[in-house]
Each structure stands twice: as C-alpha cells, then as structure tokens.
C-alpha cells in the first residue's frame, strides 16, 4: 500500500487535498479546524510515529497569511507526510499537538516565538529563542532583518544599564 493510499484509508471522513511538493513527499492540505483530528488519525491509523517539525510560512500580504506545516515520519513504513493548514493573519491560532506528540513542544514554542501563532492548549507556550519580554515576532515578513531598535525591551535594558552605572549617563550627557 502506498503512502497516499494508507493516508486516504486512515483519513476517511476528513476533507483534505493532496498538494504537489518538489521532492515528492506526500503533502496534504487541511483546514485548521480539521488539523488536530487529521494529525490524530495520522498517528493512530496511518502509523506516523514521530513529529519531525512544526513550522510556519508567512505569506504576507496574502490572506490567509500563515501556512502552518507539520511533518511526520513513520519508522514502520519508512515514509513521511507533511500537513499544511492555512491560518489567518488576525489573531493567528492553531491547535496544539503536544498531547499527541510531546516532542512538538519546542517546535511549537519556536513557531510562537517567531510568528506569534498561538498554539491553543499548549501549557508551556512561551518564547524559546528570543528574550521572554520581547515585543515582536522576527520571522514575520513585516519585521525588518536589522531588527527594531527603539523597542521597549531595548529601552528597558538601557534604563537598567543607566541605573546600574550613573557614571555612564554623566559621560554621555
């Protein structure tokens, strides 16, 4: 049984679309409301045992803006599947899959950190790579590569630095 046949059998009742991929990996597209159920079926009925990554693609200024991508690997059948779902740009949210795949926890945190997509139901959802009190989401297309300098966080750091050493302030003024 080929990968796509196995998926079609396992995902009976879920509407999904097979989309082409350049490297020939089985890729399906579902709506964000069906995503959790699809992933559950992929794990339980299709034998995809491990989550490889969770990430997003920003299609700014197109709407729906974000394209979430989950990728799974089956050791038993030696194949992979990628699941896409579109997420709208205003208050982006997606269901978490850490109850199915605990290993997706850091990937989801990273995705939240970089794109601001909230994974609903993720108990430890906080920033992974950026400072915890950072204001922006760096991998969004409207975030400039050089960063945003007059930022609340930088101002806060600057204030703390000045508080620590009054000499620095004097010499600057």
């Amino acid at each position: 049984m080929s990968t796509i046949e196995r998926i079609q059998a396992g995902l009976e009742g879920v509407t999904f679309k097979v989309v082409p991929s350049r490297e020939g990996m089985t890729t399906i597209e579902v709506s964000i409301t069906d995503a959790k159920e699809t992933i559950r079926r992929l794990r339980d009925a299709c034998g995809f045992e491990t989550n490889t990554f969770v990430t997003a693609v920003d299609r700014h200024p197109r709407e729906p803006r974000y394209e979430l991508a989950w990728q799974f690997l089956s050791y038993r059948h030696n194949d992979r599947v990628r699941v896409h779902a579109a997420v709208r740009g205003d208050a982006p949210a997606a269901p978490t899959i850490i109850d199915l795949f605990p290993g997706a926890a850091y990937s989801e945190r990273e995705c939240f950190d970089m794109f601001g997509i909230v994974f609903e139901g993720h108990a430890g959802l906080k920033r992974l790579l950026m400072p915890e009190d950072y204001d922006h989401f760096p991998l969004r297309k409207d975030f400039p590569h050089q960063g945003i300098e007059p930022d609340r966080l930088y101002r806060e750091w600057d204030r703390r630095r000045r508080e620590r050493s009054p000499i620095a302030e004097e010499s600057e003024s």
Binding site: G103, P138, L139
Partner: protein, 423 residues
C-alpha cells in the same frame, strides 16, 4: 562548579513553577531528609553544558525535582538571514550551525536545494560529499567523546580525541584551504575536485584510525568510573524517543535500527557496505558505545569511498547546470555566454516555486532543511530542523528524579551543539 543559590523553597512555593515538562511532586516539609528545595542555575557559562545552555534546576537534597533548559543565548536569526541573503549566500551561514561538522551542514543544505530544483549531482561529486560527511561525523563524535570524558574526569581522553581531530583538520585544510567553516559544498556538487595527494593522506589516516579507537576504548570501555557514571543513567525507551522526536545515535542506542543512510539513502550511500550499531538499554553508556561503533563504520565507509574515487578519477564533480552552477573561471574570462551565466547566478539565482524537505543523518540526528521558494532568488522560508533542539528538549525527561551529578553525563551523552540548537 559554579552554583548560584537563588532562593529557598518557601519563597518559590508561592509562585507556581513554570512547569510543562514535568511537575515536582508533593514535598513533605516535616520530613527531615527533604523539606527545603533549592533552585540552581547551571549555565549559560558552565563548562559542562557544552556551549551557552542554561539549565534551571530545583533540587531536593541532591535529587533533581524540576529541570528546565533555557536556550536562545546563541540565537543569531539564521532563518531570517537566509530569507535576506538568498539561496547561494546562505551556504556560509550553514557552517556556523553545528560548527563541529560544517561540511555536513553544507551537504544537508545543498541537498535540500537540489531536491527543490531537481538537480542531479555527478557520481564523483556524491562520493566526495560522502567522504566529507563521514569525516565530519567522526569529527563530531570525537568532540562528543573528548568533552564528555573530560566532564566526567578523564582529561587524557580529551587530548587523545583532539589529536585525531587535528589530523582531520589538516586533511580538510589541504582539501578546502580552511580548517573550520569550510563552505566547500555547492549546489550540484562540490567546489573543487579532491586532490590525489589529499586522497592518499586521507587513506593513511583511515588506516591508522581504528587502532586509535581501540585506544579510546581501552581508556573508557572497561573503566570502572566511566561505567558507573554512565550505565543505567538517562535511560530512554524507543517509545520515548519516538514521542520526543529524538533521532540519530540517541534513538539507535535505545535499540531501534533506523539510519537515514540506510533507510532513505542519499548521495549514493546505498553503494557502501556498513552496519548500523544499536544499543540495548538506551542509557548513557549505550549512547557512548553506539558512537564508538559509528566511528568504526564511518572509517569503513571512508575507505570504500576512497576506493570508489580511484575509479572516477577525472570525472565531473559538479553538475554542469548553468542555471545553478557557476561556470569555471577560465571559461568566464573567455566566453561571453559563460560570463552572462556567472553574472546571472551571482546576482539572482532563482529556484523553482514550491516546497521541499531533505534530511541527512548528521552526527546528532536527523538534520533537515525545509525550504519554500516562490520562484525568486530569495527564499520565502528556510526552516532548519535541528536535531540538537530535540536533544535539548529531552533533558528534563532524562533528569527526572536523578542525582544532580548525573546532569553532566546526561548532557554529554545527548550530544548537542548550541550553534545548531539556537540557530
């Protein structure tokens, strides 16, 4: 060991611990042996964390009740940089991901672009890549071995392994002109052909290396201290590995025979004879044993590649595809078309529209690049699937209710590099 005493359990009990990975159980405060929790901060400047990893630990006596890794101290925004620089120029940055095996990262990135553009790499190019990847794997495993051993007190091991690493550096220096951060892999193949003399030197090195592995094993395998500090510490089952997305030697040590080189071969790995070592228990000792055996298998592959390279001598080492591959310099200077190709590739080399993922078996696990193109010279997205991040994620799973002194062997045996974790 630097230990910052941050506060007592009574202060900390008021604010809920930010638990996600695991929750500290109920503490009986009247029990004289338990009672007071202590928060410790390990890192980010701790020698045993192998980089800038910070681990928050809550201790009950010497038992760890809560562990939380904090990453991001080496975050340089590589994925954003890739979107800004474009496809070609990002090669230099892939070196700085897992800086112990730059050529492996180069190869992984190149292969993902090749699967996006559907580019065939000539046989000799693939063979050279396999040689580079296997040398990289040995280099990374040597670092694992040296640093983990020095953390557990075996300082001599560090010098032994670094001696060998130095020899591989010399080989790579002779071939690529750099010791570190080589950036020698290109879309469609490698930058230059492997010189005969380098191949001879590589063969010489491969011939003497198995004896060195025996020497390492003499130092550690039967060593009482090494055995006691690693055996039954940090046990991972296959099911745990699957759930926590662990791949590579960590997965194999738990007993699952899974290696992308065998199961989903790339770069012609199917042409070489080698075995996949697996462990039985999935503890720190098995992870050590698996890596030792992997080095032996890597040398075996290297020898076969060197034999194969003899047969393809003088062959193409890079695809002659002028959409993606720079023309040779002498042609650029003498031909108008080639000059135009050179100009087009340097200024805007576009890859076809679509998405692709390609993974290689790196020394840490499955290293993959998920690349999305809109048909222009700059990627829409380049996601780096870093195996090290998953290894860091597993730290709390392994440290649950273990003694604090086990952190060092667990961190060492999981094997990650912060450059790759933080990107």
């Amino acid at each position: 060991m630097t230990q910052a005493h941050l506060g007592h359990a009574h202060d900390r009990a008021k604010e809920p611990l930010q638990t996600f990975e695991f929750t500290p159980g109920e503490i009986d405060r009247d029990d004289p042996l338990h009672g007071e929790l202590m928060s410790l901060n390990m890192g980010p400047q701790h020698p045993a964390t192998h980089g800038v990893l910070r681990i928050k630990v809550v201790l009950d006596g010497e038992t760890m009740k809560y562990v939380e890794p904090v990453v991001g101290y080496l975050h340089r925004g590589k994925e954003k940089t890739c979107e800004t620089l474009g496809w070609r120029k990002f090669f230099v940055h892939t070196d700085r991901l897992d800086y112990l095996q730059p050529l492996m990262n180069n190869c992984a990135y190149a292969m993902s672009l090749e699967s996006l553009g559907v580019i065939q790499v000539p046989e000799r190019g693939q063979q050279i890549r396999v040689l580079l990847m296997e040398l990289s794997r040995i280099m990374a495993h040597l670092i694992y071995l040296g640093t983990t051993a020095i953390d557990l007190g075996a300082i001599t091991m560090f010098f032994f392994t670094f001696n060998e690493r130095e020899k591989i550096y010399s080989l790579l220096d002779a071939y690529t002109g750099h010791r570190m951060n080589n950036t020698y892999v290109r879309i469609g193949g490698v930058y230059a052909d492997l010189d005969e003399r380098v191949a001879r030197e590589a063969r010489k090195w491969c011939e003497q290396f198995p004896a060195k592995i025996d020497e390492f094993e003499k130092m550690l395998t039967g060593n009482r201290i090494w055995y006691d500090r690693n055996r039954d510490i940090g046990v991972l089952s296959i099911a745990q590995c699957k759930a926590w997305s662990l791949t590579g030697p960590n997965l194999r040590a738990s007993g699952l025979e899974w290696d992308l080189r065998k199961n989903q071969p790339y770069s012609g790995y199917e042409n070489y004879q080698f075995e996949i070592p697996i462990g039985a228990k999935g503890d720190c000792y098995d992870r050590y044993a698996v890596r030792i055996e992997e080095m032996r298998q890597s040398v075996r592959i290297c020898m076969q590649v060197l034999d194969a390279l003899e047969k393809t001598r003088g062959g193409e080492f890079i695809a002659q595809d002028r959409r993606y591959v720079l023309p040779p310099k002498d042609l650029v200077h003498n031909s108008m078309e080639e000059l135009i190709h050179q100009f087009k590739i340097v200024t805007d080399m576009a890859l076809p529209k679509g998405a692709a993922y390609h993974a290689v078996e790196s020394s840490k696990g499955e290293l993959g690049f998920y690349v999305v193109s809109d048909g222009t010279s700059h990627p829409v997205r380049c996601h780096i699937r870093a195996p090290g991040l998953m290894n860091v994620q597993a730290i709390p799973v392994l440290m649950d209710d273990r003694l604090f002194s086990d952190t060092v062997s667990i961190i060492g045996s999981l094997d990650f590099v912060m450059g790759e974790v933080d990107r």
